[in-house]
Structure formats: structure tokens, C-alpha cells
């Protein structure tokens, strides 16, 4: 299985543990990821909230590279995934727009390959029986609430999940790893990521609600597939001025980190150490070695 790979900015910056664990699990499972040469930022929320043509042209540059590479493409950041898929859909459906993007990018952005989120590839292509063959460690004692957030499920026309209101892809993935999945009603609620710096007061309310509800559901960790959600949840529990008080100790983990831990891959300890809310005390309490 060989894919083009669009890492996205976070995975080489604030969410390096997500990028590193992605590369590690793919290598171990025989999924070849060929990084797009000289890819650039997708523009995320700020582009589509202010300038429509820019919001299609920024992903357009990377789509043009993917077209040249000629492979299907894997993305792990839910925001990049959404922007890439929406730009691709619009470029292929609207020739006038495609021409304007081509003029801005200077290359042909009409990429017709499949853009896949890694979770989709693992659940639907690799499959649970195959992944299970590689599991070496028990994750018993971990009780997770799967947190899909917005951009993994909405808009449903471009997303892969099995349901827009109550998706179960990540639930089933975690159960396959031996993690107890706790039911909760906030799987697809927004964390307010794009307002995290500018309206911190609003975002704190949204984030704290998620932690409180996760704890009420009996979870001891929250599992995501989005670096924006993870950063926002870890950062926005408390007013930030001069202090960093933590109200909730519930760690927020990437699905790739749990897979890497279950497969006994090297590097897991390094990924886990870089979280703002350390998961290490919980893992020690549960006797889970990494």
C-alpha cells in the first residue's frame, strides 16, 4: 500500500507526536507514505473564513503536487483533510474555479486521486484482523471517550465516517485495541479551535464542557484524530494569563499513539512525554508499560 502523504503543519510542530506516531505505525504495518515534495499550509479556518478563492488555491498547490505523484493521498490532520477534500471537490466540479486556481497556483490542480484520512485507511483498507496480528501489548484499564470533533464527520458529503451524528469508526478501532469505550453524547461537538487565541473566554467554556462530560461518562482518557482538537483541549482548560492551572487531568491522546503503544513500537514514551497533560501517571497507575 503506497500513498502520497500530506503531513500538515501541526504534525511537524505542536503535534509532532501525532506526526511521529503516524509514521511509526504506518512503517510497521507496511503502509508506504511518500511525503509530497515542498507541500504548503492548507490555510485552515482562517482562509475560508475570510477569502474563498484563497481557501481553494492554498490546498490547490498541494493538490497539484499530488496529481503529479499520481497516487492516492493520506492526511492525518482533520482540518487539512477537510480543506483538501473540499478544495478537490470544488475544483473538479467547477471548471471556471479550476481555471482561476490554476492561474494562482501556476500548475494544474485537477487531482482526481482519493484523499483519505489515516483512520479510514486503517479501519476500511487494512482492517481489524490484519492490525490485530501486530498487537503485542494489552491496553486494559484504559477507558476512552472517542472524540471525533467537527471535521472528521462534517460535511458528510466529503467525510468517511459511518454516521454524521453518531459515528462509530473510532469507537470500533479503540475496541479492537482492547480499550474500553465509554458512551457519551459529545463525540462530534465542536471544541472551538479556531477561536482559541482570539476568544479564549468562549473556548474555555466549550472545552471544559467536554472534559466534564468525559469524566461523567467514566472515561480516563479522550482519544482524537485531530491536532487542533488535541491542542485546544490541552491548552484551554483554564484562563491563561500568567498561569497554567489544570482543572482536569484527563489526558488527550491520538489514536495513532494508542495503536503504536499496543504494537509495542519504539518511540511511544517520547510521544507521550510531549503532551501538555501527561498521560504517564495514568499509564503507571494502570500498569501499562511503554
Amino acid at each position: 500500500m503506497t500513498f502520497s502523504y500530506y503531513p500538515g503543519c501541526s504534525q511537524t510542530g505542536s503535534a509532532e507526536e501525532y506526526g511521529d506516531s503516524t509514521l511509526a505505525v504506518c512503517r510497521a504495518l507496511g503502509i508506504d507514505l511518500e511525503e509530497l515534495p515542498d507541500w504548503s499550509c492548507c490555510g485552515a479556518s482562517s482562509a475560508h473564513m475570510t477569502n474563498d478563492l484563497l481557501s481553494v488555491s492554498l490546498p490547490g498547490r498541494s493538490l497539484a503536487m499530488a496529481r503529479k505523484a499520481g497516487l492516492d493521498m493520506v492526511v492525518v490532520c482533520a482540518a487539512c483533510y477537510s480543506r483538501m477534500k473540499i478544495a478537490q471537490r470544488r475544483i473538479l466540479a467547477d471548471e471556471e474555479l479550476a481555471r482561476r486556481v490554476e492561474d494562482a497556483v501556476g500548475e494544474d490542480p485537477r487531482y482526481a486521486g482519493e484523499i483519505r484520512h489515516l483512520l479510514d485507511v486503517l479501519v476500511n483498507d487494512v482492517g481489524f484482523p490484519e492490525i490485530k496480528r501486530w498487537l503485542r501489548r494489552e491496553l486494559g484499564g484504559l477507558k476512552a471517550v472517542p472524540y471525533y470533533g467537527c471535521l472528521l464527520v462534517r460535511p458528510p458529503e466529503v467525510c468517511f465516517c459511518d454516521s454524521v451524528e453518531n459515528p462509530t469508526d473510532l469507537d470500533r478501532f479503540l475496541e479492537m485495541l482492547g480499550v474500553e469505550v465509554r458512551p457519551w453524547s459529545f463525540k462530534t461537538d465542536c471544541c472551538g479551535g479556531s477561536l482559541s487565541l482570539s476568544r479564549t473566554d468562549v473556548v474555555e467554556k466549550m472545552v471544559n464542557k467536554l472534559f466534564v462530560r468525559a469524566e461523567e461518562a467514566g472515561a480516563n482518557c479522550i482519544v482524537t484524530a485531530c491536532p487542533m482538537c488535541t491542542a485546544n483541549l490541552e491548552m484551554r482548560q483554564k484562563p491563561g494569563t500568567f498561569s497554567f492551572e489544570v482543572l482536569h487531568r484527563t489526558p488527550v491522546l491520538y489514536f495513532t499513539e494508542l495503536l503504536g503503544m499496543a504494537m509495542g513500537l519504539e518511540g511511544a514514551e517520547r510521544w507521550l512525554k510531549s503532551h501538555l497533560i501527561s498521560p504517564l501517571p495514568l499509564l503507571k497507575e494502570l500498569d501499562i508499560t511503554v
Binding site: 499550509c41 482562517s46 484563497l54 482570539s198 491563561g240 510531549s274
Partner: protein, 182 residues
């Protein structure tokens, strides 16, 4: 008093976003499911109604268009298939172009900082983004403790990541017009 329909704004929004706000029949599902409604000055269904009535100035000056987080819960649930989050995008762009007073200046400053960073480096670099935003918004002392923790945890990289072909990225900003997302 608002007592008559005025289709001008609705038509301009349709040209921009392809959305037919006239289809809204005020079921209010959008507002009921909106996770940010608690902070908004106009609920999403009120925005829809005011678009139908052509209340342009009030809409371009409201907080709601900037507080909408684009989670798309409303768009997904609308029984008339209106992409309400897409309408919000259209209103935001119109507000920036109109020169009207912006209700949520810091939200716009954030977007401007974010896009400026991409314009000059091709990628999003956390220290560049945060530094620019702090300078623009003058919120210099926010998150100092958090910043220190993030440096320690290597979440903030000191050396910015750059694309090699920065001219190609600049060209995208130049040709799409509004270089700083204004």
C-alpha cells in the same frame, strides 16, 4: 421597523456562496444545535431571517459572523439544505470588504496573523503566528505560563519551517487578491 423583504443581500450572498437563504422557514434547528450560540449577539436563525429582510449593516456589524466556529452542525441538520456555515463565510468576507465596523476585531486579527505567516513562510509556525497576533491585538501578556510549558514540551519550535518555493506561495496570495485576508 423591519416589515418587508429585500432580496438584494440574499441575491448577493447566493452569487458568492451558492446558498439560497430564501428557503429558510425558521425551524430554528441551527440555533438549537449551535455550540457557540451562548456567546452570540444574533442566533443563527436570526441571521437567516435578517438576510431575507436585507438587514445588511446590522449583519456585517454583528458578533455572530465572527464567533461562528464553522463546525457545520447547522449546515448538516438544516432541513432545507442551506449551508449556514457557508453563508457565515460569505457574510464575513462581505464585512471585510465593506469597511463596516468589525464587532470582533481580535478574531479578524487572528485570521490576518495566521494568513500572513503562510504568506511569508508557506507553513503555519506557532511562534510566528502567536508573535504576530500578540503584536496586532496588543494582548502581550496572555498565555505566558502556557507558552513556557509549550517551549519545554518542544511544542513550540524556535526555527520556523519554510517551503522552498516561497515565490509560488506569494503568487497565490497576490493572485487571489486579498493578500492578508482582509
Amino acid at each position: 421597523m423591519i416589515d418587508s423583504l429585500n432580496r438584494r443581500l440574499e441575491r448577493r450572498l447566493e452569487e458568492r456562496t451558492g446558498q439560497k437563504v430564501r428557503d429558510c422557514y425558521q425551524c430554528k434547528k441551527c440555533s438549537a444545535g449551535c455550540p457557540v450560540a451562548f456567546a452570540m449577539d444574533l442566533a443563527p436563525h436570526e441571521v437567516m431571517k435578517m438576510v431575507q429582510y436585507g438587514q445588511e449593516r446590522r449583519l456585517l456589524q454583528c458578533s455572530t459572523i465572527w464567533l461562528c466556529a464553522s463546525c457545520e452542525t447547522c449546515s448538516t441538520r438544516c432541513p432545507n439544505d442551506i449551508d449556514i456555515a457557508g453563508v457565515m463565510d460569505g457574510l464575513r468576507a462581505m464585512a471585510l470588504e465593506s469597511g463596516e465596523r468589525i464587532a470582533e476585531r481580535e478574531v479578524v486579527q487572528f485570521h490576518r496573523s495566521f494568513l500572513n505567516g503562510i504568506k511569508y513562510t508557506g507553513k503555519t509556525n506557532e511562534p510566528v503566528l502567536i508573535g504576530q497576533y500578540k503584536a496586532l491585538s496588543r494582548r502581550l501578556f496572555d498565555d505566558l505560563g502556557l507558552g513556557a510549558v509549550m517551549l519545554l514540551k518542544r511544542k513550540i519550535k524556535v526555527v520556523p519551517r519554510m517551503v522552498k518555493d516561497r515565490a509560488a506561495v506569494r503568487r497565490i496570495f497576490d493572485r487571489t487578491g486579498k493578500g492578508e485576508g482582509r
